[in-house]
Each structure stands twice: as structure tokens, then as C-alpha cells.
Symmetry: C2
Subunit: 245 residues, 2 copies
Amino acid sequence: ERVQASVRASLAGVKHVVVVLSGKGGVGKSLVSASLAVGLSLLGKRAAVLDADIHGSSIPWMLGLEEARVAVRGDKLVPPEVRGVAVMSLELLAEDRGAPLVWRGPLKAKAIIDMLTATEWGERDYLVVDLPPGTGDEPLTIAQALGAKGGYAILVVAPGLLVKHVVAKAERFARELNLKLLGVVANMAYFRCPACGAVHRPLGRLEVGESRVLAEIPLDPELADAIDRGELAGYVASSTSEAAR
Amino acid sequence: ERVQASVRASLAGVKHVVVVLSGKGGVGKSLVSASLAVGLSLLGKRAAVLDADIHGSSIPWMLGLEEARVAVRGDKLVPPEVRGVAVMSLELLAEDRGAPLVWRGPLKAKAIIDMLTATEWGERDYLVVDLPPGTGDEPLTIAQALGAKGGYAILVVAPGLLVKHVVAKAERFARELNLKLLGVVANMAYFRCPACGAVHRPLGRLEVGESRVLAEIPLDPELADAIDRGELAGYVASSTSEAAR
Ligand SMILES: Nc1ncnc2c1ncn2[C@@H]1O[C@H](COP(=O)(O)OP(=O)(O)O)[C@@H](O)[C@H]1O
Ligand SMILES: Nc1ncnc2c1ncn2[C@@H]1O[C@H](COP(=O)(O)OP(=O)(O)O)[C@@H](O)[C@H]1O
Ligand SMILES: [Zn+2]
């Protein structure tokens, strides 16, 4: 198909694609996508992150890019960078930031794929893709257009109902797309009281079955504060805390 | 329009409709919808709750109804009840619970509206409707079909980025539909350490501007546990805790 050929051409310099999935919204999928890309860059890899969440991702705000502009070179879009990480999002193209892009789902998915092919990614070891929540047709359409065959997938979960169902659906999703599911990142997994050190699980226990848990991220007020200030990249870089892994 | 007439006929015995909104998924919208309906019933009101979240709502599981069946009387569907609250959800009609209903958005919205008109609601003081997350075309289509003019709306938020944007969008949504926005329920607002009593805000501060905060619900491991066991109704009934308001 013509779309796949132009996507492949624009991703020619990208070695590995890592898609980040979640069963529902609000579990920290954007947080993990942005942190992973920054973490890879701090390890000396060339990384980029694509916000492909049609329901609106907070990646530009978490990384302090709400005022950033996308440059144009020839017919290509040149993404802004934070600590060496190229960041691309429909939000960066919108005139009025934060205003709802009131398009219907399929139109937005097409706009994200057009943006992806128009972007100059250059040479990257990793492209991290923040997919829409769920394992239905929205994330499927985008992951298929990416032609991410042979790529990787990471599932982000928070403790709560039906996590076992979510893990099973994510495994099916990864198989269908020929992706290797690296494992599960358990976010908001516990809270260590700063006053007395006691550890609690406010959202309950996490049951992921036999899946590999890549990391447990605690609920962390310092992390929440860094996100609010658009300083996630600084937090990941400087932090010795558990949350930064 | 013909759809509106049949919706109005099936809701003839319902005095007030309360729609529950959220900016994103995972903030506790289903939890608040189910708790509100149970709370109203405990106050002696006749209440019902409709799961209209096309991305899948956990209301049947939270209320322990995963094995419940919907009865048929004539050409009407008779919803199961928990503590006097009638509960209706596409999940209760699906053969294989928890399997993804892989329909596209617009098809699911139509299925929910058909289910709503086919249900025998009877005489109810309140019908609580758990809408899809966001303020875009999905919740708009369903809220318009409900003909909820003159009804009420409640916004559920959790601390985090862009909450001010979410509040502004919800106000616009309520105005467009001629709904009275009663206020904001702030969920996961704080955590009181069971070991030492210190209060923390793991997800950060909540900034809702001038909106009325109807209730602050803490992160509560007992609540999470009750939800996991399908015992939310029991928790709301027995609990003197802050979470139950
Ligand atoms: N471990 C954590 N500690 C504190 N706050 C968190 C944590 N994980 C997520 N958050 C907050 O929760 C909100 C949701 O995270 P986000 O990554 O946007 O979720 P998703 O992409 O799954 O919708 C963000 O505003 C963020 O501030
Ligand atoms: N205050 C709370 N304390 C503990 N767990 C909570 C709280 N609020 C929500 N949860 C958990 O978070 C998850 C998400 O809640 P849910 O109502 O399904 O969100 P939404 O409908 O907005 O997607 C549920 O699994 C529930 O167990
Ligand atoms: Zn403590």
C-alpha cells in the first residue's frame, strides 16, 4: 500500500520502534513513553517519541514544550528536542494549545500518520510511540500503519479491576502485529509514606499473571510536581528515586 | 427525530437524569457513577445507573454483577438490581464477559442508545449515566440522544496536568446540552497514611478554579479492595470513611 511505503521511507533511519500500550486511559502511558525516551537518550542512544494518542496526550506539557514550534526544512517537519529526544505531536502543530481538536477518531488517526511521514526523524536508535489507550481498532490502525513488524511493545498498567484481561488482550495485540511484548510496567504500584517510611498499596494489589514486570513505579508527589512544571526530563535525569527506575 | 421520541418514551418514569463526565479515562468516573447511584438509593430515592462508556466501564464488576443476567418481559429488558439500584450495561448483554466488544465507536454508541430504549426503567427519581471519557463527539452523541435537557452533570477529575482545561471544556459541554453542571468530584485527591496519619497528595495539587468541589475522595486501599471484590455497594453502605463522603 502507498501509505506503508511512505511511512517506511520516513522511518528509514530508525533502528527500533517501541510501541507503548495500555488497557485504559489514566494509568501513566504517556508518562512511561516520555520517561523511556529520555532514559534511552541519557544512556547515549539517539531517541525520539511520537504522541499517537488521538485522545490527546500530555507529552508536550510533561516535557515543557507547550510553547515549542515545529520548524520546516524543505517539505519536512523538524521536531523540537528535549535532552536530545525528538518529540512530535499534533498538539505542537495546533494553533491554540489545549483546545480540543474536535475531529472524529478515523480523521485524527489519518492526521497522525500524515504527520509521521512528513517528519524528518533522522538517524535514531529508538522511536517510542505513545499509542491511544486500549487494544481496539484505534491503536491497531496506527500500529499497522507504522509497519512496526519486528518491533517491540510495552504494556503500562495501574493496579485495579480486570488487569489480567488487559494483559491477555495486549498479548493478543502484540501477536497480531508481530511485535515482541517486552513486559509490563506497573505504575502507581505503591506509595512510600515520606513521614514514616511505611509502604502502602492505595490502588490495591497488581495481578499480572506470568508476565514479566519490567519496573514498578511508585505514586510519587515529586514526580507529579515535576510533570506539572513540565520538568519530567529533569526529574528522570537527576533522580535517584525509585520512580525513575 | 424518531430516536429521541422513543428515548423519551422509555425514560417517561425517570424524574432526573445526571450525566457523569471526565476529561480522561482512569480518573474514577465509573466509581463515582456507581457510588452516586448507590448513595441515592440508601437515601431512599429510586435510582438507576446506565453504563454508556463505549470504551468499557467496570460498573458491572464493581457491583458484583458479572454473572448477572438481564431478564426479558414482553419486548422490554429488565435490568438486575443491587441495593435497589437498577444497573444496565452492554457488558450484561454480552455472552463472553470481559472479551473486547470490537465494534467501532459509532456502532457502539448506537447499540447503547438501542439498549436504553429497550430497557424497562420504571419509576425512578434519578438515572445516573456513566458517559465515555472526554468532551468530544462520543459523549456528545450519547448525551444528545438521551435528550437530557434540563438534566444535571457532574465532572470527575483526578489531580494532574491541564485540569483547568478539562473544567473549561466540561462547562462548555454542559452549556451546549443545556445541562446544569453541579460541580466537580475530586477523586484520588489525597492519601492519609494508615500507619502514621500524615496526609499526602501523591498525584499533586488539584486546581479547579472557581468550580464547586462537591466532594474530595481520598486514595483508599479499602475502597480499591472492595471494588476488586465487587463489593462497592457494601462499602458505600457501611462505610463511615471519608471516601464514601
Ligand atoms: N507514579 C506517578 N506518581 C504521580 N503521578 C503520576 C504517576 N503516574 C502518573 N501520574 C499522573 O497521572 C496523570 C496521568 O498520567 P498519563 O501518563 O497522562 O496517563 P495516560 O497516558 O495513561 O492517560 C498525569 O497527570 C500524571 O501527573
Ligand atoms: N479513590 C480511590 N481509591 C482507590 N482506588 C481507586 C480510587 N478511585 C479509583 N480507583 C481505582 O482506579 C480504577 C479506575 O477507576 P474507574 O472508576 O474505572 O475510572 P474511569 O471510569 O474514570 O476510567 C479502578 O480500578 C478503581 O479500583
Ligand atoms: Zn506514614
